[in-house]
Subunit: 298 residues, 4 copies
Amino acid sequence: MSSTTSPAHARRRTRASTENERFGRPSSGWRQRGFDIIFESDTRPGQLFDIVLLVVILASVLVVSLDSVRDLGRENRTTFIVLEWGFTLLFTVEYVARLLCVRHPLRYARSFFGIVDLIAVLPTYLAFFFPELHLLIDIRVLRMLRVFRILKLTPYLSEYAFLASALYASRRKIMVFLSGVLMVQVLLGTVMYVVEGPENGFTSIPLSIYWGITTMTTVGFGDLVPHTNLGRAIASFMMLLGWGILAVPTGIVTAEMAGRRMRGDVLLRECETCGTTGHSQSALYCQDCGASMTPPDR
Amino acid sequence: MSSTTSPAHARRRTRASTENERFGRPSSGWRQRGFDIIFESDTRPGQLFDIVLLVVILASVLVVSLDSVRDLGRENRTTFIVLEWGFTLLFTVEYVARLLCVRHPLRYARSFFGIVDLIAVLPTYLAFFFPELHLLIDIRVLRMLRVFRILKLTPYLSEYAFLASALYASRRKIMVFLSGVLMVQVLLGTVMYVVEGPENGFTSIPLSIYWGITTMTTVGFGDLVPHTNLGRAIASFMMLLGWGILAVPTGIVTAEMAGRRMRGDVLLRECETCGTTGHSQSALYCQDCGASMTPPDR
Amino acid sequence: MSSTTSPAHARRRTRASTENERFGRPSSGWRQRGFDIIFESDTRPGQLFDIVLLVVILASVLVVSLDSVRDLGRENRTTFIVLEWGFTLLFTVEYVARLLCVRHPLRYARSFFGIVDLIAVLPTYLAFFFPELHLLIDIRVLRMLRVFRILKLTPYLSEYAFLASALYASRRKIMVFLSGVLMVQVLLGTVMYVVEGPENGFTSIPLSIYWGITTMTTVGFGDLVPHTNLGRAIASFMMLLGWGILAVPTGIVTAEMAGRRMRGDVLLRECETCGTTGHSQSALYCQDCGASMTPPDR
Amino acid sequence: MSSTTSPAHARRRTRASTENERFGRPSSGWRQRGFDIIFESDTRPGQLFDIVLLVVILASVLVVSLDSVRDLGRENRTTFIVLEWGFTLLFTVEYVARLLCVRHPLRYARSFFGIVDLIAVLPTYLAFFFPELHLLIDIRVLRMLRVFRILKLTPYLSEYAFLASALYASRRKIMVFLSGVLMVQVLLGTVMYVVEGPENGFTSIPLSIYWGITTMTTVGFGDLVPHTNLGRAIASFMMLLGWGILAVPTGIVTAEMAGRRMRGDVLLRECETCGTTGHSQSALYCQDCGASMTPPDR
C-alpha cells in the first residue's frame, strides 16, 4: 500500500504534514503501516484506530470518576482496579507502539502529546509507591485533545480554526481588560474588608477579593454576604459594574468574529496576483488587474 | 367550498404544503372540510380551531401544575380529576378526528406531532395501571409547539426562521466550543476534588464536575463551596475563565446574526434573474448577468 | 414675553410640540407663563422648575424608603410624617397648577403623566382610610420618567431614541425567543419535579418552574438545589443550555444595533435627490446622479 | 548623554511628551539622568526601574493582604511590620527623588500620580496616631496603574486606547440605560417589600432594592429569597427581564467596537495627505485630494 504518486496521497501529505515532518514517517515496512494507522487518520484503519482510542480514553476517565463515588467505589473495588490496570496496560502498549513507528522517537517523546501520553500512564505505576498520586490519572482527559485530529477530516476544523484565531487575535485586549478588572478587585476587596470586617465573615483581604470576584462575575455563591448597609451599597455598585463590564469581553470577541466574518465572506477577498483586497466572494476577475480569480469552494 | 382555481387557494397551497403533501388532503366531503379546519389555519374556522386548541392545551398544563401544589391538590381532588379526564377525552376525540380527516393516517401517526398527540393522552389512561405515570401528562406542553402553526400567518415566521437558521449555522462552532468547555470541566473538577476533598463536601469527581459547571456558567447555587485557600484561588480562576468564555457563544451567534443582517440589508443583495449575490444596495444591474435590478423600496 | 416670531421660539415650537399640541398652550397671561415654566423646559425658569421637581421627587422617594427601615422609621416617626405630608401637599399644588395652566385640562388628566401625577398624591390621602395603601406612595418614582424631558435638550435624547428603536425593532424576535424558553422551562420544571420530588424541596410544579428560571438565567439563589444524581445531571444540562441561549437575546439586540450603526455611520447615507443609498459619511456628491450632498454636522 | 539631535531622541520626545511637557525635564546633570530613569521608560535603566517598581508595589500589596489573614498575621507579626516599614521607606525615597528630578516639583505633586504616590506612604506614618488608618495602605495598588507606562512601548497601548475610546463613546447610552434600570429597581424593590414583607426577610425598601439588584444582575446570593407564590412569580419576571436587558449593554459596547473595527479595517482608510477618511482598503488615490495612497501591507 505505497501509493506514493497518487493524488490521494498528495492530499494526505498536505493534511498530515505536522506529524510527518516533525516525527518522520518511516519509509517502508510494518513501521510505515503502523505510522499510517496510529498517527494519520485519513485511511480507514487510521480513522478506526482514532475512534477506538477516543472511546477507550473516555471509558478510562469514566472509570476513575465513578471510582471516586464512595458507595460505587467500595462495592466494586476489584472491578475498578482490574479496569484501571487494563486501561493502563493498553495505553502503555500504545505509547511504546508510537515510539517504535516513528523515525525520530525522541522528538515524539518531547512533543506535547508525547508528554501527555507518558503522564497518562505514570500515575498508576507510581501509585504503588505514592498512593495519593492515584487521582492524577484523570490527566488522561488531556489525551482527548486528540479528538481534534479526527476533526481534521471534517468541516469542524475550519470552525475550530476560526474560533481559535479569533480568540488569539483578541488576547491582548482581553489581557489588558483582565488586568484592569483584577486591580479593581483588589481595591474593592480591601474596601469590603474594612467596611464589613471579620465579624461579618470577611476574615481577610484575600477572602474579600475572592468574594469580589464571586460577585462581579455574577456567580454569587452566597456563602459570604454583606451584612452592613454600607457593605450592601458597595456590593450593589460592584454588581452593576460587573454587569456593565461583562459586556466588554463579549464585545471584544464578537467584534473580532464579526469583523473576520465580514472580511472573509463579504469584503476582503484578496487577489493572488496583485494583492488588492475588497473583492466580493463571487468575483471572478480582480477589480484592479483583471487577473482571473478562483472562487472559494465552500 | 371547492375554490380550486382562485388565487387565494393558490396562496394557501404554498403555505400549507407541509401537511398537505405529507398527510394528503382528502379530495372532498366532510373529511376535506375537517382537514381544512384541523390541519390548516388560513380559513376563519381553521384559525379559530387552532386558537381554541392552544387555550385548551394551556389550561390542561395549568391544571396539572396546580394539581401538584399540595394544598390545592388535596382540597380540590375531584375537580382536578374531572378536569383532567375532560381534557384527556377532548384530546382523544381530536386525535381520532385527525386520523380520520387525513388521506394517509399512518403517516400522520408516525410524524412528530402525531406521536406527541398520542403520548399527550396516554398517561391518563395508563395511570390506571401505573399511577406514577400520571405526571407525564405535562408532556402536553409539547403540543404547544403548534403555536408556530398560527405564527405562520404573521410576520413572526420570518423572525423565527431568522433565529433558527442563525442558530443552525452556528451549531458546529457551538459544538466545538462546548466539547472544549466540557473537557476543561472534567479536568478542573478532578483538581477541585483532589484539593478540597470529601471533608469539604466535594464527595466525588462527578459532583465536582457538577460544581464546576455551576461555577463556570455563573449560576453559583452555593450548596457546594470551596473552603481551602487553594480551592478558592482555583474557583476564582474558574469564575474569571467562565466569564471570559461566556463571550464566545455570544460572539458566535451575534457574528452570525450581524453577518446575515448585513448581507440581507446592505451588501449581499441577490439578483432575481441569475441568483448571484454580492450586489450593493445601490446596484442597478447584476454584476454577473447584466439583468436590471430594482433597488429595494424601504 | 410673547416672542412669537423669533427663531428661538420657532425652535421651541418644534421641540415642545408634544405638550403644546396635546394639551394646548394658553394664548396669553399668567397661564401662558405657567405653561412655559411647568410644561416646557427650554426657558431658564422652565429648566429650573424641572430640575427642582426631580430633586423633590427623588427626596420623597428617599423618605418613603428610609421610613421603611425599622429603626429609622420608629425613631423619627413624626419627622417622616411631616415630610411625607409636605411632599404630598407640594405635589397636589403642582397637579392643580398643571390643570390650570393648560387649555384642555381633561386631556392632561387622562394622559399617562396626568394619571401618574394623580396616583402619586392619592395614597397619602387614602391612607387615612386604608393604612396599607401607604406604601404605594413609591409609585412616585414613575414621575421621575420626566427626567427624559430634561434630556430632550441634551445629546442624550438621540442615544435614548437609538436604544428604544433598536429594542422596538427586536421585539418580535425576543418574543418568539422568550416563548420558546418558557415552554422549555415548563417541560424541564416538570421533569425536575418528577426526578427530585417533594422530599428534596421541589414541592410542586410551579415551584420547579420557578427553580428552572432561577437556574437558566444563571441567577442560582441556592434555596432550592437538586440532591439526586439524575437531578444534578439535568441541572448541569439546563445550566449549559441557559448559558448557550443567553447568547441569543444578546445577539438579537447587538446585531440590530450594529446594523443600525453601520447603516447610519458608514454605508447607507442616502442621496436626497435620487434616493440611492451606500454613500460614505464624507461624500460630497451622489455617486449616481451627481447631486450635491450636505454631510451630517455631528 | 545629550543626544538632542539624534533620531532616537526625536522618537523619545514624541513618546514621552506627557511627563516631559507637564513636569519639565531638567536640562543636564544627575537630575536629567534621574528624570530619564524614573519618569521615562525608553532607555534600558528606565525600563528596569519601572519593572522593579511594579514588582515592589505588587509585593507590598501582597504583604498587606497576607497580614490581614488572621493566623499568618499573628505568627509573623514582626516580619510584616519590618516589611511594611521597608516598603514605606523605599516609596518615600522614591517620592522625594521624583520631586527632585523634575523642573516643576509642585506640578508633579498636584498631578494624579503625585497624589497617589503621596497617599501610598502616608497611612503607615499616620497609623502611629490613628491605627485604623493602617489598612488604607492597600491604596498602593493604584500605583500599579503605572503599568500602562510600560505598556506604552508595546503593542498593548493601541489595544488599551481602543477599549477606552469604545467605552468612552458608549458612556451616554450606558448612562441612559443604567438610569432606566435603577428606576425599575426602585419600583420592583418596593413591590417586593409590599408582597414579601419583613416576615420573609425583606425588612426595608433599601434592602429590597439591594435584593432586586442582586437578582437582575443574575448574581443571586440566596441570603434573601422570596417565600410567597406571588413573590416568586415577580422574581421570575425580574430574572427573565434582567436576562433580556443584559443584552443591552453588551449590544451597545459590541456595536461600538464592531463599528470602529469596520471603519478602521475595512472601510474608513485615511488619506495621509489631506486626512479625509472613508477610503476602501483597495483605494489607490484619495477621493478628495487625489494624492496617491499606498495600500496597507497586512
